[in-house]
């Protein structure tokens, strides 16, 4: 096993544990916004796809990379907008009451 793998596994499991702690405290009320939120941050795959789309590679790689950037950007922009749109609707006391 390489040291890189060991370091990676440390990061993975500590993040998973942190995620477990934080996410188990999110109430049922906010589970749909939570899914939209994790969708948005899953767009972090941009970190890989930007390098593929702009890299000194052949046409196939560049086009595949550009499609990946497109899909990830849709998730980031759409995900954050829709999460915020949902959260804006949650009000403690209704207007008419």
């Amino acid at each position: 096993m390489s040291l890189t793998l060991i370091f990676g596994l440390y990061v993975f499991f500590l993040a998973a544990f942190t995620g477990y702690q934080v996410i188990s405290k999110v109430p049922h009320l906010l589970h749909t916004p939570l899914m939209a939120f994790t969708n948005a941050i899953s767009g972090i795959s941009l970190v890989g796809s930007l390098l593929a789309a702009g890299g000194h590679y052949g046409t196939v790689s560049t086009v595949l990379g550009a499609v990946a950037v497109l899909a990830a950007t849709i998730n980031v922009v759409g995900g954050f907008l829709i999460t915020d749109r949902m959260l804006r609707m949650f009000k403690k006391k209704g207007g008419a009451r």
């Binding site: 390489s2 405290k25 593929a52 086009v63 990379g65």
Partner: protein
């Protein structure tokens, strides 16, 4: 190993992004702070993108052209803005399924480019394993989510599709995928094996979702969320990028945890949901049900009769289900609640964890209709109050109020925690028709003596109730 100044800055940006994502998730734990959480994560995402571009230009020098990047970001932002601003809340499960598909596609394609450009005999064991898993999971998430989207939209039948040997062949294909990834470790140059892994992933996504019924979609959507996250984490391992590993782990565990909660709320195991083909082959059951006229007939009431019951009620608990989403009745529910409250009646809402097609589906719809969230109650909080309530108003919910889950050991949903709507003095059930529910399970609630069924479109019926109350 000492990093250059620029690379140090890049790594610090990634670290900041990771911290901001975790803090954002933490803020999402409370409706009061949730919007701040979104803002934090947005800042984190900008930091990660800036860091990546800086790395590509100034550290590795990989990025040499901008036209494709700019084109894809501009187009993606336009589509994302459109989807973010104009998709109706009732379509939220579909939109979430579709975005999992995009996530899977993005990760899968990054994996293919990885292999195309850096693949071959010099790939390390870690890189080739991670890239293989990344492509398999990405492809599976892509087609699986499209299938889920198709089922939710009605392009594909919502009923489970089964055939002989289904589970065995699926297990074989999963084993085959893992076997090929194992082979790649020893022969990283075997491109055919790499593309076979991708193809098997595409196929598995379709075949694994095929036998899962529409009512189990909440669990499937959670699992696909989880797969998308794990695929991103695998990318992180392949590229040696910690922010990807962290985001992937957060995403993967969030989906897994939500899926576990959903399965638990149905008193079923993950395995049962995935391989049980719940609600399959209902034809035989439906025929026997139709052929036996033995059971008591449901008590069907008119709108006027039901409105009388509501007028006299001092307390009402509304039980919303998927039917409310289908007929987009959330605003009509809210109008009726206003009329009832004006009449001096106490109105609350009981939300079952698996009501609807995704976790929290009902909460979002009611929030859209301006129902304050402190009127919404979870199952364990409100269930004991039904017996002291005048009217339980069931709007398009079925299995989550079926008493068979409590007392009929032969029922497929036996043991599932249900909302005790049958305990209320009167149970008003709004339903489109008298047909059996989705899973073909008879609901004995409908034939109870304290139940009154009002047939027809829920939105129309609710509007008529409101009009009657205002007279």
């Amino acid at each position: 190993m000492t990093l250059s100044l620029t690379e140090t800055f890049v790594q610090l940006l990634y670290l900041a992004a990771s911290i901001l994502f975790v803090l954002g998730l933490k803020d999402l734990g409370d409706a009061q702070t949730a919007r701040r959480g979104v803002l934090l994560a947005e800042v984190g995402m900008v930091a990660a993108v800036v860091g990546t571009l800086l790395y590509g230009v100034a550290v590795s020098g990989v990025i040499i052209r901008w036209e494709w990047i700019i084109l894809a970001i501009v187009a993606g932002s336009a589509v994302g803005t459109g989807m973010g601003l104009w998709i109706p809340m009732t379509k939220m499960p579909e939109r979430i399924a579709l975005s999992h598909a995009f996530g899977g596609l993005a990760v899968g394609l990054v994996g293919v480019v990885e292999y195309l450009e850096h693949g071959g005999p010099h790939m390390t064991t870690l890189q080739v394993t991670a890239t293989g898993l990344e492509v398999a999971l990405g492809a599976l998430t892509f087609t699986g989510s499209l299938m889920a989207f198709g089922k939710l939209q009605g392009f594909i039948t919502g009923r489970p599709v089964t055939y002989p040997g289904q589970n065995a062949s699926n297990v074989l294909m999963i084993a085959g995928t893992l076997g090929l990834i194992g082979l790649l470790v020893f022969m990283p140059e075997a491109a055919w094996a790499f593309y076979a892994v991708a193809a098997l992933g595409v196929l598995l996504g379709v075949l694994l979702v095929l036998p899962i019924g529409g009512a189990d979609m909440p669990v499937v959507i959670c699992l696909l969320n989880s797969y998308a996250g794990l695929a991103a984490a695998a990318t992180g391992f392949a590229l040696g990028n910690n922010v990807l590993i962290i985001c992937g782990a957060l995403d993967g565990f969030s989906g897994f945890l939500l899926g576990m909660m959903m399965s638990k709320a149905m008193n079923r195991s993950f395995a049962n949901v995935l391989f049980g083909a719940f609600g399959a082959a209902p034809e035989a059951k439906a025929v026997t049900a139709g052929a036996t006229p033995a059971g008591p007939a449901p008590n069907v009431g008119s709108v006027e009769e039901a409105a009388e019951v509501l007028r006299a009620a001092r307390s009402v608990i509304v039980v919303p289900g998927y039917g409310m989403a289908v007929s987009q009745a959330q605003h009509a529910v809210r109008d009726l609640a206003n009329a009832l409250q004006a009449n001096g009646c106490d109105v609350r809402y009981a939300i079952h964890p698996v009501a609807g097609r995704m976790p929290g589906h009902m909460n979002v719809l009611l929030a859209e209709a301006n129902v304050p969230y402190d009127h919404l109650f979870d199952l364990d909080v409100i269930n004991d109050d039904f017996s002291a309530t005048d009217v339980a108003l069931v709007v398009g919910a079925n299995d989550v109020v079926n008493p068979a889950a409590r007392n009929n050991q032969s029922s497929p949903i036996y043991g599932m925690p249900i909302l005790s709507a049958d305990m209320a003095k009167t149970c008003l059930v709004l339903k489109r028709s008298l047909n059996a529910g989705f899973a073909g399970i008879e609901n004995e609630l409908f034939v109870r003596s304290n139940t009154m069924m009002v047939l027809g479109d829920a939105k129309k019926t609710l509007t008529q109730f409101t009009a009657a109350l205002k007279e």
